[in-house]
Amino acid sequence: MSILVIAEHDNQQLNGATLHAVAAAAQIGEDIHVLVAGQGAQTVAQAAGQIAGVSKVLHADGESLADALAENMAAQVLSVAQNYSHLVFAATTAGKNVAPRVAAKLDVAQISDIISVESADTFKRPIYAGNAVATVQSADVQKVLTVRTTAFDAQAAEGGSAAIESVSPVADAGSSRFISRELAQSDRPELSSASVVITGGRGLGNAENFKLLDALADKLGAAIGASRAAVDAGYAPNDWQVGQTGKIVAPQLYMAFGVSGAIQHLAGMKDSKVIVAVNKDPEAPIFSVADYGLVADLFEVLPELTKAL
């Protein structure tokens, strides 16, 4: 049987998370199809067809799919699900929203947030905020998976030439309506895929001080993140939150300023390649995962560091 990866997109661009989901699928089996469900998302379907290793793109085009409402998206996936042994989603807010609906309707377990493929039915996944890693085996005929994107290197976006097949869009379930979307406009790279991430914690003291991270981020081409404490205190918007229940990041370089390092925060960043922590408290738990720690006042370090780079 084949594997279906559900593409994530905004009707215009394929979201990079999909490339990581395809990479996980490629470790499970060979015949990989991608479902692009949207409205007017032809360019996305074409991009999906070019992903290395993808043999077919299913393209569902309809008004019911314009805003990726969970009810309609799940119904669309279910309309083609019988042909597939594995249904694979990226573990993004979009994937997490839809995948369990699909699993429940198929009466199968979902395996969330896989970080490795052991075999076609056995996967590893973090539990307890990453303080333990479980190896789980599914007894179900079909597997519904969400993929932790940072655990799989992105599949090459070019090199494939899959045929695009149209599938009928589902009718609108009629029980939910999209009202509005407020997405942060930023010239910075996206947090979950940036190669450098600079994070501020409660140590920054207020929202105004968060702007002190800008100059350093500009220099390094970095994305800016925040600890939950900083988000809860209103210093930073919620979509900046890095941690167990926020974004999971694993950049080449992660720099934490004034972040104490609660286990829930460490769960979201400890797979980063190089971790730098700046905190004036030498006992801060963040130092236990940092490759380079600097016990100092971040307000002195930030300008000096920005200048030195």
Binding site: K105, A134, L253
Partner: protein, 249 residues
């Protein structure tokens, strides 16, 4: 409008769990257990809806061992009117919990189910969506704001990159995110009052649900440990190390 609030008893968020030496599971003997933090937010939201007059009754429900009664008492001390425990010693996975909750929903006929977006033990983030699917109800996950307007509910959701607002026909399922509210502390008088509230106990057999696990846990391991780092004396050394040792800038 009746609101159903499912709550889960989990290892307290401050506890760092350890893996058992035989790698069969994590060791949760004698550790502090609490209500899943996202479920506390769900209870709080249900109680606030009642205080605002949008809800008439808040019913807390939990699935699991006898000790879940404590979690339900906490929910009632926060303001839930009564509670239902679906009691079993069996291992419960999200699909099974969703099926049990569906049975309770059919019995209780709530217009709204509010539950945490994820439990901090298995980190699955599935139960709410699965329940919505089994009931064929609309859903709004990761809610940071809820507004009930007659037979509809408008929910602002925290999504990657920002916020999204959807409107759902009731009945519906909503899962909570961190910014929805700040749960109240329970007070001693309310804890005493909660002891007198009704707590009904059902079993999976009584509601006709097969809870057999679909996933087998083969092994539970410690995550790979990061090698110890170094404390650098100043910014100049940090920059030198990042350039020449780590080679990341």
């Amino acid at each position: 409008m009746k609101v159903l609030v499912p709550v889960k008893r989990v290892v307290d968020f401050n506890v760092k769990v350890r893996v058992k030496s035989d790698q069969s599971d994590v060791d949760i003997a004698n550790v502090k257990m609490s209500m899943n933090p996202f479920d506390e937010i769900a209870v709080e939201e249900g109680v606030r809806l009642k205080e605002k007059g949008a809800a008439t009754e808040v019913v807390a429900v939990s699935c699991g061992v006898t000790a879940c009664q404590e979690t339900l008492r906490t929910a009632m001390a926060m303001g839930a009117d009564r509670a239902v425990l679906v009691e079993t010693d069996a291992e419960l996975q999200p699909l099974a919990v969703a099926k049990l909750l569906k049975a309770v929903v059919e019995k209780e006929q709530p217009q709204l189910v509010i539950l945490g977006k994820q439990a901090i033990d298995d980190d699955a983030n599935q139960t709410g969506q699965m329940l919505a699917a089994l009931l064929d109800w609309p859903q709004a996950t990761f809610a940071s704001q809820i507004e009930v307007n007659g037979d509809q509910i408008q929910v602002t959701r925290e999504v990657d990159g920002g916020l999204e607002t959807v409107s759902l026909n009731l009945p519906a399922v909503v899962t909570t995110d961190l910014r929805l509210n700040e749960p109240r502390f329970v007070t001693l008088p309310n804890i005493m009052k909660a002891k007198k509230k009704t707590l009904d106990v059902l079993t999976p057999d009584e509601v006709g649900v097969d809870v057999a696990p679909r996933l087998k846990t083969l092994k539970v391991e410690e995550p790979p440990v990061r090698a110890a780092g170094v404390i650098v004396p100043d910014v100049a050394t940090l920059v030198e190390k990042l350039k020449n040792e780590a080679k990341v800038i």
